[in-house]
Symmetry: C2
Amino acid sequence: MSKKKQDLIEHAEQLFYNHGFHAVGLKRIIKEANVALMTLYNHFDSKEALILDVLKKRGEQYFSLLKSSVENSKSSPILSLAEAHIDFIRKHNKNGCMFLRAKEEFSFDEDHEIFQYVNEHKRSLLAFFEEIGFNHSEALQLVLLFEGATALSETLTMDEVEMTFMHSIKSMKLQMRVE
Amino acid sequence: MSKKKQDLIEHAEQLFYNHGFHAVGLKRIIKEANVALMTLYNHFDSKEALILDVLKKRGEQYFSLLKSSVENSKSSPILSLAEAHIDFIRKHNKNGCMFLRAKEEFSFDEDHEIFQYVNEHKRSLLAFFEEIGFNHSEALQLVLLFEGATALSETLTMDEVEMTFMHSIKSMKLQMRVE
DNA sequence: CTAAAAATATAATGACCGTTCTATACATAA
DNA sequence: TTATGTATAGAACGGTCATTATATTTTTAG
């Protein structure tokens, strides 16, 4: 991937996440990324295509974080997953779930690529929890706690979030053991 | 309150919630509310003042729903609260927490009235749980579950959300009994 | 060195944005 | 009826938006 293209995606991700998709103009993105406008249009068909690429890159990063955390897990996988999720929130500054926010801002059209990608991303998270051994009910509970922690981080300190999240995770009654 | 003003607030609430604050223009709001543009500016100083009034009205409705649910509670207050929250989500179409969304779209300025109101609203929810008898840790857990349910409703069916949410609520170990 | 590819700056396009101005119509109450 | 406040339509304002066009420069590869 071109360095310019990567710069665009990374700066766009920060701007979109911090201010919203409709609120950030292309001019601001190319300015912060030090790239000409025509270079952006050379790499992306449209603003929405850029948004989609930003989300896909972020989605891949999130899942690779979860996967590596469970692979390198020394103690229980569920605690490693929870810590990985908290780490992800800590790294990105308390502005909620970017995927849900994208879905919300583009919910006028349910056939929209962005709308569909977010649904797919969320379905993948649920499926991932089931793949590594949790039953359906447990996976749903986990997703609820993960989403809750992300939302909570928008109004509370990360220490409060981590404490509450971990406490909730530990108090889950798990029917099956992983591995 | 003037009927026109009320129409504006109600239609603005729906449009903002369904499409986002930056995505919805004043023209669209006055069209759906059947109101002239100058009438809007007669009742609200600016678009952001309208947004603030929309949030305040919604916030009051939410809290009055929670309060009446716990007052008229026949069984346990926590289950009544949970059901009231689910009812609120059901009534508003699966687009997440409007307060968090407002904070996200106006997070460029932490001194912004909208930003501050949302913080206040969320602090009030936590305080409310403590006022009716839950300790701090329990109140935090409740908020996490409430936020989780709201977020979950954006990608799952309400039946799945209700089942998972209620299951999580019931499995909470409560240190103290209310009343 | 040269040819192809990528990135640049600038400007035009047409549409929409929030806000303000002007001037007219309608309502209610004294 | 007259006066006052409210609602109306329509246009203008300056600005930003995403996108496209044109033309020039820089970088890369053979």
